[in-house]
């Protein structure tokens, strides 16, 4: 390998430097039918799962075929997306907030060939490259974080549990038979790089053991005051520790105050939390971000812990499937999972979903906890 210079001169970093130009202008990338009809769309219709038409007041139509994708994409795969876009869509394509890919054509006659082409492509291992679906009252793609593939703080993997969960929920990606749309999200630790805390079903990686203390290196690798200040429960205090190489400045952790958030580890690499038995998954349900009918809601913890079970996380996926099935057969049309649980009562939710209720599920974190206890004589047996 020979180093290939881009033209950058390390001796003169400011020479010809271009900065602060931001992203490319979005209009460069609009398909012509989008550019011509922006702001003029009258209505849309989902023709079949994964296929939408939007109709403009000009009479123009744009047909969209939506396909699921792992958000982790190789350039080889992106080039295949480009090949499809070139073949069917005049070289245009877009991505959605939930990591789906949308291919748009301006004529109904082009839809069938595009769809057939997308559905025909499979990876060598047998999975679909471009499954069509993810619209309407179904389950669309899972938004997720990096997990074990690229992050230093995860308590679980992201891409693995997502693949395993979407395999189990695949029929619902291809159908629109839920009472309302159901959004599943995954965050591999409490930092929650995505908005999983307001999802119908949130899969959350969680640590359960306080940080280990690498005393000999702690003061060398970290700013001790920052590590102490990072703790939301004031569980960390300075301490002096005797090591083989003499006394060193370090910290001590009051284990019973630790909520395992990992914020100290973010500030101090000498305080790792990861543990094969300690780490696992929390399931939260009933959140939403839409303002439709009821207010946006936070998801609630309904399963306090499931161990990490790579490669397919069977307990996690079967628990999710159970919740989805019970919701689908019990909720009213248009009712989101959280709205259904509130209507029937959470005691009934646990009963119907056959989930054990344990003390871990009662909030004890600061003031908001009180507002979640039951302050009425109304409850169901």
């Amino acid at each position: 390998m020979a180093f290939i210079s881009s033209g950058y001169n390390p001796d003169k970093p400011m020479e010809n430097r271009i900065t602060d130009i931001g992203p490319r202008h979005f209009e460069e990338f609009y398909p012509p039918v989008i550019k011509a009809n922006k702001g003029k769309w009258l209505y849309h219709e989902i023709l079949e799962p994964g296929v939408l038409v939007h109709v403009s007041e000009s009479g123009a139509e744009v047909y969209t075929v939506r396909v699921g994708g792992a958000r982790l994409l190789s350039c080889t795969h992106i080039r295949e997306i480009c090949e499809i876009a070139d073949k069917h869509c005049d070289g245009y394509v877009r991505f959605t907030t939930r990591n789906n890919i949308e291919f748009m054509v301006d004529n109904k006659n082009k839809v069938a060939a595009l769809k057939a082409d997308l559905e025909s492509r499979k990876f060598a291992g047998g999975s679909f490259k471009f499954p069509v679906g993810g619209t309407g009252a179904g389950i669309t793609n899972i938004v997720h974080t990096q997990g074990w593939i690229h992050c230093h703080t995860p308590a679980t993997d992201a891409s693995g549990p997502v693949k395993a969960t979407m395999d189990v929920l695949f029929d619902e990606f291809k159908n629109m038979r839920m009472p309302a749309h159901l959004r599943v999200s995954l965050a591999c630790c409490l930092n929650m790089c995505g908005a999983v805390h307001c999802s119908d079903i949130a899969i959350l990686g969680f640590h359960r053991k306080p940080p280990m203390l690498d005393h000999e290196y702690l003061d060398k690798m970290c700013e001790i005051p920052l590590a102490i200040a990072a703790c939301p429960t004031a569980a960390i205090r300075p301490s002096k520790v005797d090591t083989a190489n003499g006394q060193v400045n370090s910290v001590a952790v009051k284990s019973e105050r630790c909520m395992f958030c990992g914020n100290c580890y973010t500030m101090c690499p000498a305080m790792p939390l990861a543990d094969d038995e300690g780490d696992g998954i929390v399931l939260m349900v009933g959140g939403k971000v839409s303002n439709r009918i009821s207010r946006p809601k936070f998801s609630k913890v309904v399963v306090a812990f499931i161990p990490n079970e790579p490669p397919r996380w069977p307990t996690t996926t079967s628990t999710i499937k159970k919740i989805v099935d019970v919701y689908a057969s019990n909720a009213n049309k248009y009712e989101r999972l959280g709205e259904w649980a509130e209507r029937i009562g959470w005691e009934r939710f646990f009963e119907k979903c056959e989930l054990p209720f344990t003390h871990h599920l009662i909030d004890d974190f600061r003031d908001p906890a009180y507002y979640t206890w039951r302050h009425t004589s109304q409850f169901k047996f």
Binding site: E28, W41, H44, L72, S74, S127, G136, W148, T153, A230
Partner: protein
């Protein structure tokens, strides 16, 4: 023959959903074959070693990535996240495996020509693996070495007219929904506002000067497809203040069954005949709709614009025409002080270039937060610590009932001295003339 055996990962190749394991394997194969004769600038077997590391992680169930080091490009404090493997001897191909965040175009529309340019660059100078897209919205290049960072930045800015995104304690790359470009619900042009503010605040995006991260997200309507209300420090949600437009003929077509409710979103199950009373009128949160002599009547003054009726009957009902945005502030995920939903600060403002009214709110909020915010304190936490009243004070916004779900249920009002006639200074001697000890 694969470099590392991956029996656990291989189990993620079966099943219908697109397999990232299969995809990384095909990238590894593409690199090994190197049909295009690329002079790879990072190890050829980077994808093989990544699969090997993941297999080890699947066995041990603990991540093998270390903390990010201080790497980046000259003059920027964000956009690159350093990443090092903790088993570099075993997996030398990914000993350095830094992330580069590339600012995505608003609306996430692309041409294949541009995507191919990105691929050309990333195959030469990186792992060939990406996220399309990261959680915040960026195009994410996963995995390169330190010497390649300036080269990538130089090529991006000089050849692709493309900048990096945000990371660290700065303005994170703003993101938006599809907006008016392809959605009839959008109350404003999310792409134009997102792009304009992204350009206006490039300095805040590239040079961390904030207490912590700060996110803008732009939702065209209260359906909130980009979840701005849950995850952005400042959330811009499209809304309107006049009347929902009604097409009575289309209402009848829904009632008669000629049009499918909710644009066909429920077509996969037989929910029975459409019932406008049950499915629309009774589910309206303010009960501001009724059928009167065969006509649908909406008391728009009582409507809170939840979108339900419009979602169910998009051919019959359209958003109003006097549109703008509501601005909500302070949303965040649970770290550290618990999750917060956005709180309504500006009920309505028009979205008109050059967006001066909106920028005034943004800059007043930033001035306060940069002055008062503690290290790693999100805006929402500062609002909780200093009070919503303080936020109103720094943004010069009058308190109004729209700001609260309900008024306070404790009377512990922190009256300011200037609000109480005569002030707080009093004469105890004078008081004692009338009141014995």
């Amino acid at each position: 023959m694969a470099k590392h055996a991956t029996p656990l990962l291989d189990q993620l190749e079966s099943g219908p959903w697109p397999s990232w394991v299969s995809d990384i394997k095909q990238e590894a194969e593409t690199r090994a074959k190197n049909v295009k004769g690329i002079d790879y600038q990072i190890p050829v077997d980077v994808c093989d070693d990544l699969l090997g590391l993941m297999e080890l992680t699947y066995v041990e169930k603990r991540t093998h990535w270390k903390h990010g080091g201080i790497v980046g490009v000259f003059g920027y404090g964000g956009g690159v996240i350093g990443r090092y493997c903790d088993q570099p001897q075993q997996f030398p191909g990914i000993a350095h495996f830094h992330t580069v965040r590339v600012s995505q175009p608003s609306g996430k529309y692309y041409t294949s020509a541009y995507l191919k340019q990105l691929c050309d660059l990333w195959e030469l100078r990186g792992s060939g693996l990406t996220n399309m897209h990261g959680s915040t919205g960026d195009i994410v290049f996963i995995g390169t070495t330190t010497p390649q960072l300036e080269e990538i930045f130089f090529e991006l800015t000089h050849n692709l007219n493309q900048d990096l995104g945000g990371s660290g304690s700065n303005l994170r790359t703003p993101s938006d929904c599809i907006g008016t470009s392809r959605c009839e619900y959008a109350c404003y042009d999310t792409q134009s506002l997102c792009h304009a503010l992204t350009l206006d605040y490039q300095d805040e995006l590239h040079r961390p000067a904030f207490p912590y991260k700060f996110k803008f997200k732009f939702d065209g309507c209260p359906n909130c497809c980009v979840a701005s209300i849950a995850r952005s420090d400042m959330s811009f949600i499209g809304t309107w203040r006049d009347d929902i437009r009604i097409d009575q003929k289309a209402v009848q077509a829904y009632i008669g069954g000629e049009l499918k409710p909710n644009a066909g979103a429920h077509a996969g199950r037989d929910w029975g005949k459409f019932d406008i009373v049950k499915e629309v009128l009774s589910l309206c949160p303010t009960q501001c709709m009724k059928m009167d002599g065969g006509k649908l009547v909406i008391d728009d003054r009582e409507c809170t614009r939840c979108m339900h009726c419009i979602n169910v009957m998009p051919r019959a009902l359209r958003i109003g025409q006097d549109t703008g945005v509501s601005i909500l502030v302070g949303a965040k995920a649970p770290i550290l002080d618990g999750a917060q939903m956005g709180s309504l600060l500006v009920p309505f403002v028009k979205v008109e270039e050059p967006y001066d009214e909106i920028k005034e709110v943004i800059e007043n909020v930033w001035d306060w937060w940069m002055e008062e915010g503690k290290n790693r304190e999100r805006l929402g936490e500062l609002i909780k610590r200093q009070g919503f009243q303080k936020l109103l004070e720094v943004t010069n916004i009058e308190a109004m009932p729209q700001h609260v779900q309900e008024p306070r249920s404790n009377p512990y009002i922190f009256w300011r001295e200037d609000e109480v006639p005569g002030g707080f200074e009093r004469d105890i001697t004078e008081f004692r003339k009338h009141h014995q000890r």
